[in-house]
C-alpha cells in the first residue's frame, strides 16, 4: 500500500487538512473526503470542466490535479462563492438568464466565469466563448450561459464606474 500523505491547504479561505494517497486526485478528495460535492465529475480526464476550481488564481480541472500538489495553496470552489447575505453576482445572473437546465455543468461554468472576469472584467462575446470552451454543457446550447456572462460583466462594470 502507498504511504499516505498529510496535506495542509486553504479552501474557500478556511484552513483545511486532509490525508490522501499520492495517486488521489484533488477532485476525489474534494468530493469524497471533504464532501464538497459541488465540484462535479463529468469525465475525470480533463475534457468537460465540470470539476473546475481555482488554485492560486489559476483555473484548473481538479480531476487532473493530484491532491498532494495543493500543499500550501489557496483553492476556491463553488461552495465558497456566495456571500453571507446574497449569492455572487455570477450566480444571480445564471438564475436570471435561465442559464442552466440540469445544472450539472453549472458549478464548473460559474467558477470558470469567475476566473475569466477576475482576469478580464470586460470580455467580448468571442472572448467569453473562447474562455468557456473547456466547459461542456449538453443541455443549453450555451446561448443563455454566454448571455449570463455578458450580463454580469456589464453589471459589475457599471458598478465600478459609479
Amino acid at each position: 500500500m502507498n504511504m499516505k500523505k498529510f496535506i495542509q491547504t486553504s479552501i474557500n479561505n478556511e484552513r483545511v487538512e486532509f490525508i490522501c494517497e499520492p495517486r488521489d486526485s484533488l477532485l476525489s478528495i474534494l468530493r469524497e473526503n471533504l464532501r464538497l460535492t459541488g465540484t462535479k465529475e463529468g469525465c475525470n480526464n480533463g475534457n468537460c470542466g465540470a470539476c473546475n476550481v481555482i488554485i492560486d488564481g489559476v483555473l484548473v480541472n481538479s480531476c487532473l490535479v493530484l491532491a498532494v500538489e495543493v500543499e500550501g495553496k489557496k483553492i476556491e470552489t463553488i461552495e465558497g462563492l456566495a456571500g453571507k447575505d446574497d449569492l455572487h453576482p455570477i450566480q444571480n445572473a445564471f438564475l436570471e438568464e435561465a442559464a442552466l437546465q440540469c445544472g450539472i455543468c453549472t458549478p464548473g461554468f460559474i467558477i470558470a466565469t469567475k476566473n475569466l472576469l477576475d482576469i478580464n472584467p470586460n470580455p467580448t462575446e468571442q472572448e467569453i466563448r473562447k474562455s468557456l470552451a473547456g466547459n461542456l454543457c449538453r443541455c443549453t446550447g450555451y446561448d443563455k450561459i454566454v448571455r449570463a456572462v455578458i450580463d454580469v460583466a456589464k453589471i459589475s462594470n457599471n458598478k465600478g464606474d459609479e
Binding site: C43, L95, E97, G103, I104, R129
Partner: protein, 754 residues
C-alpha cells in the same frame, strides 16, 4: 429579457409566460444540489464493474476467487446471481424491452455482445481496492467475429448475435436464425402508378453513425438492501417509477419492496430511462451484508456501454409534380439496435414524411442487432436519422424545380384533419403557421456575404407523448401550497409545474413550493421523456388546483356561514355578497385543519410537435470545416409556460443536432473496439463552436390541454442535420449523404474516396 421572439395571439395569463427564477435554482448555482454521485451514506462501500474487452465472444468461465480473497473486498457477483427470466416483453418508457435481454445487458450471461458489456461486479471498502479486485477476475473467452455494420448484419451468412432471435415480419415470425429482429411495413395508396405520373423522381442513400446523448453526469447509483429485504435506491433517473419497474422485473422482487429516491439528474435526453447499475448495486449490497453500495460509471463506461442512438442506412425515393406537389415515397430504413433488439426504426419510418401530405407511400423498416451497445432513446428517437434523409431530398427537389424551399413545404404541409401514415389524424398543429412566420422573418431575407456561405432549411417532427402523472398538494397555514410530484426535473419543470398551479389557483408563483419525491411518496408517474412532463404533469397540476380551490370554497362557505354555491373566487379572494376573505387569511384561519388534494391523469394523446430551422454556414474551401454563422429555430410550442426554458430546450436540442451533424460519431475499429471513448475524441460542441441560437416561439395552443401546452423538448434536435446539409450544398454545390459532415467525410465525399 427578449420577449419579441414570442408569437402569441393575446395574453390572457397572469403567471404563464413570465420568466421567474426556478425554485431549485439556488441549490444548483451554489453546488448544494445533490446529484446521483453526490450521496455519501454511513458505512458506504464502492462497486466496480468488469467489462468485456471483446465485441463478440462466448464466456467460457469466470473465476473470481482471487478477487474475493483481497482484503477489503465484500462481494463479487456475476449473472449467475440474477434470477433466470422468461422472454417477456415489457413497456419501458416509450418503448418495449424483453426483460431477459435487459438482464443480460446488465450482466452478460453466456455471451458478450459488445465491447464494455458488463461481466462481473465487485464491492469493496474503497474504490482503489474495488478496481484492483476487478483486475484479478479471470475470464476465459471464445472470441467470435463481430458484426459492426447494419447491412453486413442483415446478410444471410453474417455471424449471429442471439441464437434464438427470429425476425418478426409484419406480425409473422420467420423461423430461421437472424440478426433482423423486426421488419415493419407502412403502406398507403399505390406508389407504382404515382411514380409513373411524377415529373421528377429523386432517389438517394443516407448513412449515419451511432451518437451518444452525451449527458455530462455519468450514471451513478447507490443502493441499500436492508436486513428486512426493503430496498432503497438513490439514483439520477428520468423516471423513478420506470427504474423501480425494471429493477423489480430483472431481480424478480415485488415493486413494494423497492423505493427509488430520485437524485437531481445531470442530463438524460433519453439515456437515463433504462437501468444499468441499479440491480447490480442492490445485489452487491445484499451480498455484503446490507452495506450501502455506490457505483459510478467512468466516462469511458458511459460511452462504451450505455445507450447511444442507432446508426442507420436509409434509402428514399421521392416523386413530385412540376408544381411541387409530392406524389409518392418509397423508403427503406435499417437501424442498428445494438446488442439487443429495440432500435427506434418504427418512429423513424413514421416521421420520415410526417410533415407532408402524401397519399402513396411504401416504407420498409428493419430493426437489426449488431455488436455495439444496446441503443437507447435519444431526443426524438429515430427521427433525426430519417429526416436527415427526407429533408435533404426535399431540398434537392426544391432546387431542381426552382421552387422556394419554404413554398415547397407550404404546398405539401400537413394541417388539421390530415391523416398520418400510422393512423392518427392531426389535430390543431402549427406547421403552416411556422412556415408563414419564416417567410416574414428577417433571417430568411438577409443576404449571405461570402463565396463559401450557404443557407439551408429543414422541418422536423416529433410525435410527443402524454402518459401518466400524479400530483399531490397541501395548503400551508400561511397560504403557501406544497406541490408534490413524481416527475424528474431535468430542465426546469419544477418551475413550470409551480407556474401552472399558480395560474390555476390565481396565486403568486412564489407561493407554490414544488418538490419531486420518491416512489413511496407519490402516485405512479411516468418518466420525464417524450416531451410529456409539462403537458401531462402540468395538466394533473391544473386539475389539482381546481380541486384545492373547491375545497377552499367549502371552508369559505363555512366561515361566512353560507352555501358553497354563493362563494366566488377571484384573484386570490373568496367573496360572498358583501363579505370577502383572502386566500392567505382563510389559510391562516384553518391552522391545524389542513386542505389536501391529489390528482392523477392519463391523457389519451398529445399534440405532435413541428419545427423548421434556418441555418447559414460557411465552408472552409481548404479544410472543409463548417462554421455555423447564424441559426434560427421556429417551433410551434403550444403555449410557452416559462419562455426562457422553452427557448433553452430548443437551443439545447439544436446544438445537439449540430454536434450530430458536424462532429459526433462512434468510431469502431474492425474488431469492434470503440476508438473514441473520451470527450476529447467524441467531440461535442463547445461554446466556441457556436453563435447565439435564435428562437421564434409560435403559439398554436393544444385545444385539449387546459393551458394549450405542447411538448417542445424533442423536435429541435431533428432539423439541424438536414438543414446544415442543405446549407453546405448551397455553399459549395455538393450534397452530403453521410453524418457527421466532418472535414474528413466532406473531403472523402467530394473526392469520391471509397
Amino acid at each position: 429579457m427578449q420577449e419579441s421572439n414570442l408569437v402569441r395571439e393575446k395574453k390572457k395569463f397572469q403567471v404563464i409566460g413570465t420568466r421567474p427564477k426556478r425554485p431549485d435554482g439556488t441549490d444548483k448555482v451554489t453546488g448544494r444540489a445533490l446529484y446521483g454521485g453526490d450521496i455519501n451514506l454511513p458505512s458506504m462501500i464502492y462497486g466496480e464493474i468488469l467489462r468485456s474487452p471483446h465485441a463478440h465472444a462466448k464466456i467460457i468461465s469466470i473465476d473470481y476467487q482471487e478477487a474475493l480473497a483481497i482484503e477489503g473486498v465484500k462481494a463479487v457477483i456475476t449473472a449467475e446471481d440474477f434470477p433466470s427470466l422468461e422472454d417477456v416483453t415489457k413497456k419501458v418508457g416509450e418503448g418495449a424491452v424483453n426483460i431477459r435481454y435487459r438482464s443480460n445487458n446488465i450482466l452478460a450471461k453466456e455471451k458478450v455482445l459488445y465491447q464494455g458489456h458488463p461481466i462481473a461486479a465487485v464491492a469493496a471498502k474503497d474504490k482503489n481496492i474495488a478496481r484492483l479486485a476487478i483486475e484479478k477476475i479471470i475470464v476465459k473467452y471464445e472470441i467470435l467475429s463481430p458484426v459492426l455494420d447494419v447491412r453486413e448484419a442483415m446478410k444471410e451468412d453474417a455471424p449471429i448475435l442471439l441464437e434464438e432471435l427470429r425476425t418478426v415480419s409484419m406480425g409473422e415470425k420467420i423461423d430461421k436464425p437472424t440478426n433482423i429482429a423486426k421488419h415493419i411495413q407502412l403502406k398507403r395508396g399505390n406508389i407504382e402508378d404515382s411514380f409513373a405520373e411524377s415529373d421528377i423522381i429523386i432517389e438517394r442513400e443516407f448513412y449515419t453513425s451511432m451518437v451518444h446523448q452525451g449527458y455530462i453526469e455519468p450514471q451513478s447509483v447507490t443502493a441499500l438492501y436492508n436486513n428486512d429485504g426493503d430496498i432503497s435506491v438513490w439514483t439520477s433517473t428520468q423516471g423513478a417509477f420506470i427504474a423501480q419497474q425494471q429493477i423489480s422485473d430483472v431481480l424478480n422482487i415485488p415493486l413494494s419492496k423497492i423505493n427509488v429516491i430520485p437524485m437531481e439528474i445531470g442530463g438524460g435526453f433519453g439515456g437515463k430511462v433504462s437501468v444499468y447499475l441499479d440491480p447490480v448495486a442492490i445485489l452487491l449490497s445484499k451480498k455484503s451484508g446490507s452495506l450501502p453500495v455506490k457505483i459510478t460509471m467512468s466516462r469511458k463506461d458511459v460511452l462504451m456501454a450505455t445507450g447511444p442512438t442507432s446508426g442507420s442506412y436509409i434509402k428514399v425515393k421521392l416523386g413530385a409534380k412540376n408544381n411541387g406537389i409530392f406524389t409518392a415515397v418509397h423508403a427503406y430504413l435499417a437501424y442498428e439496435a445494438g446488442a439487443y433488439p429495440g432500435s427506434p426504426v418504427g418512429g423513424g419510418a413514421v416521421s420520415l414524411f410526417a410533415p407532408y401530405k402524401l397519399d402513396h407511400l411504401l416504407i420498409d423498416a428493419y430493426d437489426v442487432v449488431v455488436n455495439k451497445p444496446k441503443s437507447e432513446p435519444y431526443r426524438a428517437p429515430g427521427t433525426t436519422n430519417a429526416i436527415f434523409a427526407s429533408e435533404s431530398i426535399i431540398d434537392e427537389i426544391a432546387v431542381k424545380l426552382k421552387i422556394d424551399p419554404i413554398e415547397l413545404r407550404l404546398i405539401n404541409a400537413v394541417k388539421e384533419g390530415d391523416r398520418r401514415i400510422d393512423g392518427p389524424t392531426y389535430g390543431r398543429i402549427g406547421l403552416i403557421e411556422i412556415l408563414e412566420e419564416i417567410k416574414a422573418h428577417p433571417h430568411y431575407h438577409s443576404k449571405l456575404r461570402g463565396k463559401y456561405q450557404g443557407r439551408g432549411i429543414a422541418t422536423g417532427f416529433w410525435f410527443n407523448y402524454a402518459g401518466k402523472s400524479s400530483v399531490y398538494a397541501s395548503i400551508n397555514g400561511d397560504g403557501t401550497v406544497n406541490l408534490i410530484e413524481g416527475s424528474t426535473d431535468i430542465g426546469g419543470s419544477r418551475a413550470s409545474m409551480a407556474m401552472q398551479l399558480a395560474e390555476t389557483m390565481e396565486l403568486p408563483y412564489e407561493s407554490i413550493i414544488p418538490k419531486v419525491v420518491d416512489t413511496n411518496s407519490i402516485g405512479y408517474t411516468e418518466g420525464t421523456y417524450g416531451s410529456r412532463t409539462t403537458y401531462s404533469t402540468g395538466w394533473a397540476t391544473h386539475n389539482l388546483g381546481n380541486e384545492l380551490i373547491r375545497l377552499m370554497k367549502e371552508k369559505a362557505a363555512a366561515h361566512f356561514e353560507t352555501e358553497i354555491g354563493n362563494i366566488v373566487y377571484s384573484k386570490g379572494n373568496f367573496t360572498s355578497s358583501d363579505k370577502e376573505i383572502s386566500f392567505i387569511d382563510l389559510a391562516k384561519l384553518m391552522k391545524g385543519n389542513p386542505v389536501t388534494a391529489s390528482s392523477s391523469i392519463h391523457p389519451k394523446r398529445a399534440s405532435p410537435g413541428f419545427g423548421t430551422h434556418i441555418v447559414d454556414v460557411e465552408v472552409d474551401p481548404e479544410t472543409y470545416k463548417v462554421t455555423i454563422l447564424r441559426y434560427t429555430a421556429f417551433q410551434d410550442v403550444g403555449t410557452a409556460i416559462h419562455p426562457s426554458y422553452v427557448e433553452g430546450q430548443i437551443q439545447g436540442g439544436v446544438v445537439q443536432g449540430i454536434g450530430w451533424a458536424l462532429n459526433e460519431e462512434y468510431i469502431y475499429d474492425d474488431t469492434g473496439n470503440l476508438v473514441n471513448h473520451t470527450l476529447l475524441d467524441y467531440r461535442m460542441p463547445t461554446s466556441y463552436d457556436l453563435p447565439m441560437i435564435d428562437t421564434v416561439l409560435i403559439e398554436v395552443p393544444d385545444p385539449d390541454h387546459p393551458f394549450g401546452v405542447k411538448g417542445v423538448g424533442e423536435v429541435p434536435i431533428v432539423p439541424p442535420a438536414a438543414a446544415i446539409a442543405n446549407a453546405i450544398n448551397d455553399a459549395i454545390g455538393h450534397r452530403l449523404n453521410r453524418l457527421p459532415m466532418s472535414p474528413k467525410n466532406i473531403f472523402e465525399s467530394i473526392n469520391q474516396v471509397k
